[in-house]
């Protein structure tokens, strides 16, 4: 219901109005300067890091990484105040485009970035100022996890990660000195199943439309992600050969939606879900036995003592990634604070927090120090857990002996078939998707 809160007047969209924001910022810098100055008078030692103390940064993003623990730790380690707003995926795009003055840091997904970068409300980061850049995995640089891995279809993060120079509204062809977004979180998604209610092995995306699960299947109703799951299914069924699932033609979109509309009319789906909690409820209540799902939702269902598997499928994973991007309005002290915050974000503590929920950190090597050997073994290396696995919120998600579904980081991220994406025919796709939902 967070959607209700963002009542943006349509008129906002056409205004850029950075002037007032700058004035406010300048005033803020002046104030901060005055504060530091008065500090000096009373004899406090002044170091640069003191500068960013009590700077407030406003960040919004999806619920997955907008958690209070991060804000609390940032306050402790850096002294900055983080104001977090959690939105759904669609609303994040909306916020970047229509309310550029309402945030300093955007925590968005790569396909959202592709969609909104052209609006000019974000600014690229200088790689020279990113202290942990060398630790970031190859997926977010040249697109390759290991030197010999293939690049999956869709909006692969590295294709939208660089611009030639600040102010550019189109992406660069290769790696440059300007990073559009610092990756923070990503994962390989697949179907979640209830093994106790299905009672047989599942190994293909085709099972989502298997009539055996009529009235017990679900797919997520976020068009840009749902269409990818649908494409994985149609391709696995052998019904459609896509040129690029991440950039479909009108015919491919029509055919995909036709197959799914038919299934919907035949009563295949129990429900469509939009939020994390909805997917958990559908699965835990047994309303649904097979559906699109996100990794922590699986953990949540399991922590209720209900069997649930994040089923690796032979066709591969659908992957997604998100990161932190800077508002074009940031400058001066706030900009410095934002860089400092992003460097801190990649330095390990947050990575550990995210990895212990089943996501991956963009700089996994830094997170290792913030996880126990057993946690690292279970979540990253795909080794059997030595003891109970506890998530960062103190809940037990796995017992000793368990192995992560899909195995190690390289097994999972190495088998990505497709990235969440935004297509050239996006407007047409959205219309067709809405027609499918309404059919």
């Amino acid at each position: 219901m967070s959607e209700d809160k963002s009542k943006d007047g349509p008129a906002n969209a056409s205004q850029s109005g950075t002037l007032s924001r700058r004035k406010v910022l300048k005033a803020g810098v002046a104030l901060a300067g005055a504060a530091v100055g008065s500090g000096a008078i009373t004899g406090f030692p002044m170091v640069w890091a003191q500068n960013i103390k009590n700077v407030t940064l406003r960040q919004f993003g999806t619920g997955v990484s907008n958690i209070n623990e991060i804000a609390k730790q940032a306050k402790e380690d850096l002294g900055i105040n983080l104001e977090m707003t959690a939105l759904d995926t669609d609303s994040t795009a909306q916020r970047v485009v229509t309310q550029p003055k309402s945030f300093d840091i955007a925590d968005i997904e790569y396909f959202t970035l592709k969609k909104v970068w052209g609006a000019g409300n974000l600014q690229p980061m200088s790689i020279a100022k990113l202290s942990e850049y060398d630790q970031i995995v190859g997926i977010f640089k040249d697109g390759k996890l290991t030197p010999d891995s293939n690049i999956a279809q869709g909006t692969a993060p590295h294709t939208v990660s660089f611009v030639e120079s600040p102010g550019d509204t189109t992406f660069a062809g290769g790696m440059t000195d300007w990073y559009t977004m610092v990756p923070t979180i990503y994962n390989a998604d697949t179907l979640g199943i209830r093994p106790d209610l299905i009672g047989r092995p599942i190994d293909s995306w085709t099972e989502l439309l298997n009539p055996e699960f009529r009235g017990k299947a679900s797919i997520l109703n976020i068009s840009s992600i749902g269409i990818m799951d649908a494409a994985m299914v149609c391709e696995a069924m052998g019904e459609i050969q896509y040129g690029d699932k991440g950039n479909m033609t009108r015919e491919e979109i029509d055919k995909t939606m036709e197959i799914f509309t038919e299934a919907k009319k035949a009563g295949q789906f129990r429900a469509f879900w939009k939020t994390f909690d909805e997917s958990v409820n559908l699965m835990s209540s047994g309303e649904v036995v097979i559906q699109s799902m996100w990794s922590p939702a699986i953990s949540k269902v399991r922590s209720m003592g209900i069997p649930c598997i994040y089923q690796p499928l032979k066709e591969g994973y659908r992957s997604w990634g998100g990161g932190l991007a800077l508002s074009a309005n940031l400058s001066g002290l706030e900009l410095d604070a934002a860089y400092e915050y992003i460097n801190w974000y990649l330095s390990g503590w947050v990575g550990g927090l995210l990895m212990r929920q089943g996501y991956y950190s963009a700089a996994p090597s830094t997170s290792k120090a913030h996880m126990s050997e057993d946690e690292w073994g279970y979540w990253f290396e795909g080794k059997p857990a030595q003891a109970d696995i506890i998530n960062p919120f103190g809940q037990k998600v796995e017992s000793a002996g368990a192995v992560r579904d899909g195995g190690s980081f390289y097994d999972r991220m190495g088998r990505v078939a497709c990235w969440n994406s935004v297509m050239d025919e996006n407007r047409y796709m959205v219309r067709k998707w809405n027609e499918f939902i309404a059919a």
């Binding site: 008129a11 229509t98 429900a271 409820n281 309303e287 959205v430």
Partner: protein, 277 residues
């Protein structure tokens, strides 16, 4: 002087009603891209709306929800109001019972909707009871995430909007009129049919306006209780809004506004609400 007196209300209405609606009308003719609104005068948004089969099917399903909800809320609303107005004798008890009717409104709409899910679900209360008593062999799946669930939630949420105006109308009925009907030999049913019901028409009309406008513009209930499977006009509109397609959503809004206005005008034609107030 009279102009000065109506000035505050006129200004309020201009700023908060006429201007926003006008703006929506203007935007509905704009063009748009992924991340931009382009001020323009194009008919694309309306053309895409009227060309799509889906538009007609969602209007049909929205009208179906409205009609079903109206029938049930009117029946229940009339019954409850009748009981309160004619069977409860003291004013104190009337007020007490009336307040009890409003208790569910102390919680949010969403909570009242979600509360149905564990009741109606596949492994919910009703299904467990039916299975346990051996009445059925398999869980009844139509209970939840279905049109049934949507209408049930609407009736639950909105019946009070029918009770209040009908109750209000009934309280204005001169008791002597009822006595006269009985004296003239009419039984209870005849009295209701020929005396109470006609005198309650304004109340029913006002309640109907509430129900029609609430149901026609709802998206949360439909989305939640149908599990995202049924669509309503407002669900479609909200999808477009969420995807930054403001002009298309604005065109939807203009058409919906037109349809609802027509329905309300129709109601006003049948019953002269103003005369009866």
């Amino acid at each position: 002087m009279p102009y000065l007196q109506i000035l505050p209300l006129t200004l309020t209405l201009l700023v908060f009603l006429v201007a926003p609606v006008g703006l929506i009308g203007v935007v509905s003719f704009w063009d748009y891209t992924e991340f931009n609104l382009i001020p323009d005068f194009v008919w694309t948004n309306y053309r895409e709306l009227f060309e799509s089969r889906v538009t007609y099917s969602i209007y049909l399903s929205t009208l179906k929800f409205t009609a079903l909800t109206w029938v049930f809320t009117t029946l229940i609303g009339f019954t409850v109001a009748y009981f309160l107005a004619f069977h409860v004798r003291t004013l104190r008890w009337q007020i007490t019972l009336f307040l009890i009717c409003t208790i569910p409104f102390w919680t949010s709409n969403i909570i009242r909707m979600i509360a149905w899910i564990p009741v109606l679900g596949r492994h919910g209360l009703i299904n467990e009871a039916l299975l346990g008593s051996g009445l059925v062999d398999t869980p009844q799946e139509w209970l939840l995430y279905s049109d049934f669930a949507v209408v049930l939630a609407f009736v639950h949420l909105y019946t009070l909007f029918m009770v209040v105006p009908i109750f209000n109308s009934m309280m204005r009925i001169d008791r002597a009129v009822i006595e006269a009907a009985y004296d003239a030999g009419a039984g209870p049913w005849r009295t209701i049919r020929h005396v109470v019901l006609p005198l309650c028409k304004p109340g029913i009309a006002i309640g109907s306006i509430f129900i029609v406008t609430l149901v026609m513009s709802d998206y949360v209930t439909v989305q939640m209780m149908s599990g995202g499977q049924s669509a309503s006009v407002a669900v479609a509109m909200n999808n477009k809004r969420a995807l930054l397609q403001y002009p298309a959503a604005a065109a939807d809004a203009v058409v919906l506004l037109g349809v609802v206005l027509l329905m309300v005008v129709g109601l006003m034609r049948i019953v002269n609400v103003r005369k009866e107030l």
